[in-house]
Structure formats: structure tokens, C-alpha cells
Amino acid sequence: MIRALSLIVALGLTACSAEKAPHSASAEPSFAPLKEPLGQIVTMRRLTEAQYRNSIADIFGPDIRVAGRFEPIVRPVHELIATGAASSTISPAGLEQFDAMARAIAAQIFDADHRAQFMDCAPRDAAAPDPDCAARVLVPVGRYLFRRPMTQEEVAAYVMMAGKATESSGSFHKGLELGLAAMLVSPHFLYVVESAEPDPESLGGLRLDNLARASRLSFLMWNTTPNEALLKAAEQGQLTDPAQLAAIAGRMVRSPRLEDGVRAFFADMLLFEKFDEMAKDQIVYPRFNPDVASALSEQMLRMIVDQLVTQKGDYRDLFTTRRTFINRALGPLYQAKVTSTQGWVPYEFALGDDRAGLLGQAGFLALYAHSGRSSPTLRGRAVRELLLCQPVPNPPGNVNFTAVQDVTSTAMPTAKMRLTAHNSDPVCAACHRITDPLGLPLEKFDGIGAFRPRENGAPIDTAGLFEGVAFQGNVGLGKALAASKSTTECVAGRAFQYATGRVPEDNGGLAGGIEQDFAKDGYRIASLFLRVATMPQAYRIAATPLAAPQIAMTTRTGVHP
């Protein structure tokens, strides 16, 4: 699908560029167009919304507003958005949105308040084309946007677009503005185009080239576009040298910006896009107001970052830690005192509180519940699929849900009783045996994750069973998950998928190897990221190379494909 993607840039388009490097740039930006042909394109991965926003902020500054609707990337079943991005197209309507955003961004960059930051030259005539000045502006910014130096053809085309737009608008800056907008809708910006070169370690094989590795590292570690230092390292060929790659990746993994990468990874792994569509019945859960809804995912991410990045903790402890963060909106839901008027504050659940761990967070509990009731099945399935990487089959189409939906039943006041009745059908029981023992321990939390000692006046049985071990409640479930090899193998495999955009085809062997290294390093997330960022297998290309994207651009000599 990507191969078929083509953009017709027939408007008066001009490129504008920041002479400033991204925020972390440490060296002079490059003005030289790429003299060598582009490498063999092997993958095109669409930028996520966060990656798009982070890229704009890093290249142009955080005060540049990005407003618009991002067409979602479809998540393949049981996979990551990161893998879906490798096969994601953009619809015409989606491209219209990108175009509108691009024009709005470009207008800000070349308005009177900002243009000086991005231009180190002045046009000879502010109302006439100036190809030299336009090139001085366009070439550096193109390098950041495309994550590689622009080709000579691209430079010529965008400079010419700027000129034509200047002629039609009577403004050099307006011409640059329209040109930059064109660059921002180029597939070379909207997609991370991964290119490859012959692999000296594998006769006839391919490996990602240096510039592709720069993007891979940057989006994995920091969820943003490569900065000047990383681009320069790639241009100098350092990223195909294992020792230098390890050194650079090591520096990146020790950066505070690792938090952005970790947030993005877990938001993907835990299906956080579902928060955007989560709705609760306001009659049943009047406490679930918009402030609560918007705080749930952030609370989970703060907890994850604190445990794995700030505390440099063991991934397994994520399921048992009593540390989290809380704000005023969530205080009533947790029945907890919040000591700060604004923002988030650390909070530690009392010893013996069943809230501990990731699964005790209201966000997880609310996300995997129905709008008006809890769901041991949805929660158990989420644990299986997201945290253990064990897919659960969908229910057949003709299931009778009458028993489980009768939440006011006096004869069956608890979810466990209702599920027991439902499971009298052996077809249903087969799957519920997989899910429910992992969801029923969470039943003391209702459909929005609030604690409830009883359901319909009846005591709640929170007994659970996992890998032959019986336990009680969320705390017991967290300990069981923390003790399971499946948990750490799952996250190890997910990290590889997230980094590469592909699912390993070796039936778990690769994930097992990553997990062993993960274990040696005490299950530290930084070590896991470093491992997948430096392992040669992550850069080897097994798939058939793609054809180069066809982009029709008007040039002096006609249409340049």
C-alpha cells in the first residue's frame, strides 16, 4: 500500500526551513544536498501523532502549535501500533488534515515573530524569488524533516516551488511558507522511510543503513526525530559500527528523554488509544467526570515511568509496587488525600491495600470494564493478551450473555456467580477458564476502578489462579505475574516489535534471547531498550525491499517523479 502512495504537490509550494538545529543539535547544520542516491527502501513507518508533534517541537520549537485531527494508525490484531505503522496508509481525508496542519505550522514559522529564528539570509527583494536564499533556508530544515539530507532533485524542486509561490503571492516569506507546507506533507516526513545497504555479515542480505538507524534509535529511545548529533553520527557512518552504535545508544538510554520513549512504548503496548473512546454510564458512575477520565492514562504512565525510569526499578516490580501518582481529580475515586492543589503528587498505597501494582490503577480497571459494570473477562483477557502476550480467541457470535449482564440479580449478586452460570455452556467455559481466573481477583474494583467491598450487598470472592498457583486479590495477581517468565518474555518481545515494526518470525526464540539478557540486567527497562537498539538482528532486513515512493513534483523541466 505504501508503495502506491503518491502525493501530487501541484500547488505553489515553497519550502522554508529552520537554520536552527533541533533543540539537542550540537554542531553546524549541513547545507549539502545528498550526492549519493537514496538507499534501498525497505520499510515505511507512519509517524504516530506523538512522533509528529515531538518532531515539530524539536525542529521548530515547542511554541509552534500543532492543531488538527490525526488519522489513526490501525493496530493489527494482537500487535502494536508500531507494527501497524509499517503498513499504514493515509486516506485522502487524512491527507487533507495533514495538509491543513502543515499550512498552519508553516504559517507560524514564517510569521514576523518566528522567521528570524529559521532564516540566516535575507531575500534581495522581499517580493521576488531568491533561489539562493530559499535554498539556504530549505536545505537544513529539509534535512531535519526527512531525517537525511535532501537530494539535489528535491532541493531544486522545493526551491522552484518557493519561487513560483513567491511570484504568485508577491511575498518571499509567503513563498517559503507554502514550500514548507509541501515538505510537511511529503511521505518522507510523514513516514519514517527506512533504507538499507548490503550486509557485509550476510552475503546477499541487507541491513539498515546509517541514516535509517538514526531514526530507529531516536524514535525508539525518545519518540522523536533524530537530532543534529545523531544525524551527524549517521552521516559519518558511526551507526553501523557496533562499538560506536553501542556507545551512542548507551548515551541516549541514559538521557532523561528516555521517559518519552518509555511512555510511548507502554502506551502502545497497553492499548492506550482505547482511553480516547472510553465511556462510562453517568447514571451508574456519576463520579466518572471528564477530569477523572483524562487523568487515568496519565496516572498509569507516571507510575510506569517512576518505577522503570526514575527509580530504575525491576520491570517485575511494576506489578507489585505501592508507589503511584495522584491528582485532585482522582482523589475521590481512590478515597485518598491529595496534598497538592495542582498537578500530580507521589502517593503510596498503605501496606495491605489491594491497590498495589499496575493492575490496581483505576485506568487499567476502568479501561477493561463495560460502561456500566466491571468485567472479569475483559480484565483477564487484557492481562493475558497485553501483559503475557497470550492471545485469547474472540467469543462466538451466538453467545447468550443474559446471565452475565443481569447485574442486579438477587439470586446471583456477584460477577463470579453470574459467570459461573454463564459457563455452564462448555463452549463459553473453554475461554473463560483462560480469562476469568485473572480477572476475578480484581472484582473489588468496580467499572471505573473504585474500590467496593461488596457487590449488591454480597461479599466478593477474589480468588484467582495462574500457572497453577492460587492467590487472592489484585496483590496476589500482581505477585503471580511478577513471578512468571511469561511476563518478562512478553515485554521483551514487545520491545523488539516496537523497535523494528515487525514481529519476529522465529516463534519466540529471539524474544527468549532478549529476555535472558533482560534478566541478566535485573529486568531494567533501559537495558531492554539498549539491547533491542543494538542487536544486529534488529537491523537485518528479511523482507523484500520496497519500491521508492513516487512523488510527483513540478520542476523546471516538467514533472519530476
Partner: protein, 376 residues
């Protein structure tokens, strides 16, 4: 319909003792209880004999009374409505752009109709002494308590926007409640040293404002167990000495000052006029409910200007749109004022009042004055 009402009354009478018999919850181990006020508005009691001559007259009605009967009848004819409107609204203005609500003392008007009934909500503020008062006849409470001092109700209880109809308080009650919901002037209560909600002879009470807006659910009801932080301004952090007797929290008389904000802009935008609740010899009498909440009264002597703050801030709009005869209102309040007598003039400057209050459990972060200095 009648049968339904009787049945409801019977049910209520049966339920009341049961509710009273319900045990109060035990206080937490640290003896600390926090609350946020969900209701704080003039205490309303609609006695049948309160306003035998009708409600307090509007400015339009009072203007018409100044006219000879024949002229009055002429003005009331439909074709003359525009002329009447022009004349009665003009009655709201005095020389040099003054208006009757911003400057009521400049207008010499007779007092508005006042409450004639003998029953009102309130507390015994002077404990029968009235040493620096101006003399008044106390009310009896709906439950039979004598010596109730609430001259504010006597002065304002026949004003339609206070009195309301059919057991429901007037606009002032709804407005002030909404101000709490929207966070115009959040009030919190922090009790420490509580050993029992039934009886405790020594309880420390902090009654304060919070800058934190109310945390409300999707139906705009306050949520229990939300957190609030006491304001840094010590002026609005009242430290009181209290006790609990038979499940009722009472505090010793003291001055209580709380921020008050009138009006609001957009849904969540505070841009109202800032005033203050300033109550002397003030006290709380709040009853613990089985669900852990509090209901009761806050009483004290308020400056007579504060009672009509809403109308005064409203200015000419309060007179010409709401129809308040603020001069008549002011005259009634001045006449009935019963506290803080000026030794020079003999005029009392404050008036006894009672606010109906309700509060639900909340977490309250105190801000002791020493901490504030350090932070600054």
C-alpha cells in the same frame, strides 16, 4: 393524591426515628476529620403568618404608592406602561448619578415589610444578655428552642428572592449554592482531636476558605473524599474551639471571616465581586449525620451592609431589573440591627443572622500561618 401525601407523611414519621437511631461512624484513628461545605445560604423558615400584608414591595410597587390613587390607576392602564416604567425606574436614581442600590443610605424611604411570625431558624447568639445590642424580640426555632437571634430573617424574610415559595428557598439560596459548586468561595472545615462523633468535650476546629474549586460529579454534586487546601490568607482561616454534644458539633463564640465572591463569568471563570462574610460572636451548630456528613447552622452578627451585598453590588440593575427597593431594605436592616451598638449614636451596626449549612467528608490540607511565611 391526598392519600399519597398521607402515606408519604406516615413513611416520613416512621423513618425519622430510625434515622436518628442510626449509629454515627467512628472517627479515624488520628482524630482528624475534614469537610467541604456543599450548602451555605440564609436559613429559611416559611412561617404561615410571616408576611400577612404580602411580600416586601418592589420598587415599582413602592413608586406607585407615592402616587395619588387616580394617578396610580392611570399609570396602571396598559397604554401607559411605558410611562410607568420610565417613572418607576427613574425612582431608582438620585442626584449625581447615585442609585438606590449602590447608595441606599442617600434615599429616605420607609422600611420594607418585615417578618411578623414568631418562628425562625437560628441560634441564641446573645444568650439573653444583649449587652451591646439594641433590643429585639427573639424568635423560637422550628424545634422549639427559644431565644433565637435572627433579625436578618425578620428584615429580609418577606423578600421574594430570599423567602422563596412552597418550602423552597429563594434565588439567594440557589445562587449561593451554585457559587459553592462552581468554586467561587469554597469553604472547608477541619476538625482535629476528635475522639467520638457522639460526645467529645474538646475539639479543635479550623473553618476556612480554600482556593480549590469543588470536585463535582457529572450531575454537579459534590464528591466526597476530595482534597482541599486551606487558603494561605490567615484572615480567612478561622481557628475555633469546639465540642461535640449528643452528635452535635458546637463552637465557642468567635469572629469568623470568610471570603465571599458574588457572581461568576463563564462556567469556570471567577471574576465576581469579592466581599467577605464577617460574623462576630459567631458559632457553628452542626449535627453529624449517619453518613458522616454535617448539617446545621452557622450564626453570627454581620454588618448590615453585608446582608444586602448582592443587591448593592448589582447597583441600578438590582433596582430596575430585579426590582429591589434597596433603600427600603436598608431601612429595615438598620431598624432591626441588634449588634455592635455605636456608643456615640446608639445605632447598631451589625445584625444577627443564621446561615443554613451542609458539609460532606473531604480531605483538608491545613496551611498553618508559620508555613505560609516560610513559603513566601
Amino acid at each position: 393524591m391526598i392519600a399519597y401525601r398521607i402515606a408519604a407523611l406516615c413513611t416520613a414519621s416512621f423513618l425519622a426515628p430510625i434515622a436518628q437511631a442510626q449509629a454515627l461512624p467512628a472517627p479515624p484513628a488520628n482524630g482528624e476529620l475534614g469537610f467541604v461545605f456543599t450548602h451555605f445560604a440564609p436559613a429559611i423558615h416559611q412561617g404561615a403568618q410571616d408576611c400577612p400584608d404580602g411580600l416586601a414591595a418592589t420598587l415599582r410597587e413602592n413608586y406607585l404608592q407615592t402616587q395619588a390613587p387616580a394617578e396610580r390607576l392611570r399609570l396602571l392602564e396598559k397604554p401607559n406602561e411605558a410611562e410607568l416604567t420610565k417613572r418607576w425606574t427613574g425612582y431608582a436614581f438620585g442626584p449625581q448619578g447615585t442609585n438606590i442600590c449602590t447608595h441606599p443610605a442617600l434615599f429616605d424611604r420607609p422600611p420594607q415589610r418585615i417578618v411578623q411570625g414568631k418562628v425562625a431558624q437560628g441560634l441564641d447568639l446573645d444568650e439573653g444578655a444583649d449587652a451591646d445590642g439594641c433590643g429585639h424580640e427573639p424568635f423560637t426555632s422550628p424545634t422549639g428552642q427559644t431565644g433565637v437571634d435572627n433579625q436578618t430573617w425578620r428584615a429580609m424574610g418577606c423578600v421574594r428572592t430570599w423567602r422563596g415559595v412552597d418550602g423552597t428557598g429563594g434565588d439567594i439560596v440557589r445562587g449561593l449554592t451554585q457559587f459553592l459548586v462552581s468554586g467561587e468561595h469554597t469553604q472547608v472545615l477541619l476538625l482535629t482531636g476528635v475522639d467520638s462523633l457522639q460526645d467529645d468535650p474538646d475539639v479543635s476546629v479550623i473553618y476556612a476558605n480554600s482556593e480549590d474549586r469543588a470536585v463535582v460529579d457529572s450531575k454537579q454534586n459534590f464528591m466526597r473524599d476530595a482534597s482541599y487546601t486551606v487558603v494561605a490568607n490567615a484572615q480567612h482561616r478561622n481557628v475555633l474551639k469546639g465540642r461535640i454534644v449528643d452528635g452535635v458539633l458546637m463552637t465557642d463564640p468567635a469572629q469568623i471571616r470568610l471570603r465571599q465572591t458574588w457572581g461568576q463569568g463563564s462556567e469556570r471563570d471567577i471574576r465576581g465581586k469579592r466581599t467577605e462574610y464577617d460574623m462576630t460572636k459567631a458559632r457553628l451548630r452542626l449535627t453529624f449525620q449517619p453518613d458522616g456528613s454535617l448539617k446545621g447552622l452557622v450564626g453570627g452578627y454581620q454588618p448590615i451592609w453585608d446582608i444586602m451585598a448582592s443587591a448593592s453590588i448589582g447597583g441600578e440593575g438590582a433596582a430596575t431589573t430585579a426590582g429591589y427597593d434597596c433603600a427600603a431594605m436598608y431601612a429595615a436592616l438598620k431598624k432591626l440591627a441588634d449588634g455592635d451598638r455605636d456608643p456615640a449614636t446608639g445605632q447598631c451596626r451589625r445584625i444577627s443572622s443564621a446561615m443554613e449549612a451542609g458539609a460532606i467528608p473531604a480531605f483538608v490540607n491545613d496551611t498553618p500561618p508559620a508555613t505560609k511565611v516560610a513559603q513566601q
